[in-house]
């Protein structure tokens, strides 16, 4: 870097004041901010590890280390379905996919908290952009980001013997359910990112909140093996029903229904969609409010 790096005379010539330009609309601004989020993803692959490496490790860990000791009830029930350890691996994939979708909130929360901390948010707010463009940009970027682990999970699953045994239509509904749930989790992430004091605080909430939610569920083991009250929690936990819904839609082994199973277990797809709508109706407005409050100090 040399001393005469700035050319003031040139600046003077080109710095004639300009009149403001008309707005190009919300979608334009959303996409500009979303592109920034995607560049971040490219430049900071390690921040994606909870959506890439971590689920692969969980698949391998449960498929080959714990899996042999976990029995999925009803083995051999389906015609031509997998048996034994293969059966558990197919059962596992719906759970791991669900867990990965839930963890979408982490990345979003970290991004929001970091932008608040380093005043990037102020920069955006000092610009003439459409109302809602910043949050819209986060949402779009993170939705695109969420597609990556979904693809990685599918490929990893195929490698360990997972298969889609249903129709194409049902499989597509399965992927749609994942994307929709990821979209809902984005708003939980915005909420967390807006209420924490520092980005480090996100880790704490993640371990205290999201982690137990993904384990007290049918993610890795059938809920039928859990003691009474815990089983009830797990049965109504949307992570259970997301896992079960994916197993159902992909035609994978699942815990057979028993008389007296709650509605959530009997209709996991519908129950999970209700949660998606519920989160979007409740958490999204709360997230927007919390976000607005956190940035206007």
């Amino acid at each position: 870097m040399t001393a005469t790096t700035i050319a003031p005379d040139v600046i003077a010539r080109t710095q004639a004041h300009a009149e403001p330009l008309p707005s190009r609309g919300l979608l334009h601004d959303v996409w500009v901010i979303a592109r920034r989020g995607l560049i971040h993803m490219k430049r900071q692959p390690e921040a994606l590890s909870d959506a890439t490496i971590q689920p692969i490790m969980f698949v391998l860990l449960f498929a080959y280390v714990f899996g042999g000791a976990i029995a999925v009830p009803g083995g051999g029930g389906e015609e031509g379905g997998p048996v034994g350890a293969d059966r558990y691996r197919e059962f596992l994939m719906g759970g791991i996919m669900a867990q990965t979708i839930i963890f979408t909130a982490f990345g979003v929360a970290m991004g929001v908290a970091t932008d608040r901390k380093n005043q990037t948010v102020d920069r955006f707010r000092s610009l003439p952009i459409a109302r809602g463009a910043v949050l819209g940009g986060y949402a779009v970027a993170n939705l695109i980001k969420a597609l990556l682990p979904i693809m990685i999970m599918s490929v990893t699953g195929l490698l360990v013997g997972w298969q889609i045994r249903s129709s194409i239509g049902e499989a597509l509904l399965g992927y749609l359910l994942m994307v929709a749930f990821a979209f809902a989790m984005i708003w939980i992430g915005v909420l967390i990112g807006s209420v924490v004091k520092t980005p480090e605080g996100v880790q704490g909430i993640a371990f205290a909140g999201l982690f137990p939610i993904t384990f007290i569920a049918s993610t890795f083991v059938p809920v039928t093996s859990m003691p009474g009250p815990l089983r009830t929690v797990a049965e109504w936990n949307p992570v259970t029903t997301l896992s079960d819904a994916l197993r159902e839609l992909f035609g994978n082994p699942n815990t057979p229904l028993q008389p007296g199973d709650p509605w959530s277990i009997q209709h996991p797809v519908a129950y999970t969609w209700l949660w998606i709508v519920g989160i979007l109706l409740v958490a999204a407005p709360l997230a927007v409010r919390a976000y607005q409050r956190s940035i206007s100090k």
Binding site: T5, I6, I11, L21, D122
Partner: protein, 358 residues
């Protein structure tokens, strides 16, 4: 609203809980002029800038910026201003070019125009070579330059710079000042905040001195200095044993009671007669055979400005504060030197107490 004022704000009040960040200040900046808001950390400078740039809404008062009300027409204001916040807020994971293009597009430039403008600014600010590197690898000076370039993307006629030179080395600071000079020559209106009297003096037509959320003095640099008092004669001698002799000599020449800083063997006294006094002190010290390490005229520091204007040290300042003797408006000769063992108190203790009280 008069169009001859780029900024016109009256009675701005902002409270955070029980803490009053701004106590009802007026800020009027005529178009094409430079105003500096001078004050210590925590005085309310940044809060004022944040209100005027639409980032926070004032609890009371009105503000119109570039002809628009910041409360009712924030986007009209945002279209017409550039803001460089206190910490350069360039995106660390984006390259310099990507930062500029993004802001250009958010200023509603077409992609191609945003790219062209980015290339132009990168060249002007000497960032060509670093244009396609991520800014987390930039030096502090480069980041500041990029930050300023980012504020200029839309060619605004009104710029807000919050402590633009804090943390810059002297060369980078001079460079930045040169750019600001150029912009001002081109007709840009500038409002900047600073902790340095020197910077306010160098750049501004008008200076607002703020403390505890209130404007405690305003005027151009000359009138402000008149209020603050004259330059000081400042002598550092080589031999600590002869400090008392030197003090007597300085007192004799200036007719004021000098401030003595024993650990650094320094004698300071206000000099009504500037250079003439300086010469006389030099001659007298030489005549007495007292070896001098440093001798010169020194501008009043921000601390001294505050001491004179408020009779108290600023609310919180990064510098070493002399302890005030507490008489409001008292002349600088009332200073007790920072480490003189009058009663053995740590000068910082007083500051902490003030902060708690606030």
């Amino acid at each position: 609203m008069s169009t001859s004022h780029a900024i016109e704000a009256h009675g701005l009040v902002k409270r955070y809980g029980t803490n009053v960040a701004l106590g009802g200040i007026d800020v009027v900046v005529p178009t094409g002029t430079v105003t500096a808001v001078l004050g210590p950390n925590g005085a309310g400078k940044t809060t004022a800038v944040r209100i005027l740039t639409t980032l926070v809404v004032a609890d009371e008062g009105t503000a119109s910026v570039a002809g628009y009300d910041v409360r009712t027409s924030p986007n009209e204001v945002r279209q017409r201003i550039g803001l460089a916040a206190q910490d350069a807020t360039v995106d660390p994971l984006l390259t310099g070019r990507e930062n500029l293009v993004m802001v250009g597009e958010l200023h509603q430039l077409a992609r191609r125009d945003a790219r062209q403008r980015a290339a132009e600014l990168l060249e002007q600010f000497g960032l060509d070579d670093a244009a396609d590197r991520v800014t987390s690898g930039y030096s502090g000076g480069m980041r500041r330059r990029l930050d300023l370039a980012v504020t200029l993307v839309a060619r605004p006629a009104l710029l807000f710079l919050d402590e633009p030179t804090t943390g810059l080395d002297p060369r980078a600071r001079n460079e930045l000042w040169a750019v600001l000079d150029t912009l001002v020559e081109g007709g840009t209106t500038l409002l900047l905040t600073t902790q340095y009297l020197e910077e306010a003096d160098r750049l501004a037509d008008d200076i607002l001195v703020v403390d505890h959320g209130d404007v405690i003095a305003r005027g151009d640099a000359r009138s402000l200095k008149r209020q603050v008092g004259s330059d000081n004669v400042h002598a550092v001698i080589s031999d600590a044993d002869r400090l008392d002799e030197a003090t007597a000599i300085v007192a004799g020449v200036t007719g004021a009671e000098p401030v003595v800083d024993r650990p650094v063997r320094a004698v300071t006294a206000p000099s009504a007669d500037g250079v003439a006094n300086l010469g006389a002190v030099a001659n007298a010290l030489a005549g007495a055979g007292i070896a001098v390490e440093d001798l010169g005229l020194r501008q009043p520091t921000l601390d001294e400005v505050f001491l004179t204007l408020t009779g108290a040290a600023p609310a919180s300042s990064d510098g070493d504060l002399p302890e005030a003797s507490g008489r409001p408006g008292g002349p600088p000769t009332d200073l007790t030197p920072p480490f003189d063992t009058v009663d053995g108190r740590d000068p910082h203790a007083d500051r902490t107490h003030q902060e708690v009280a606030r």
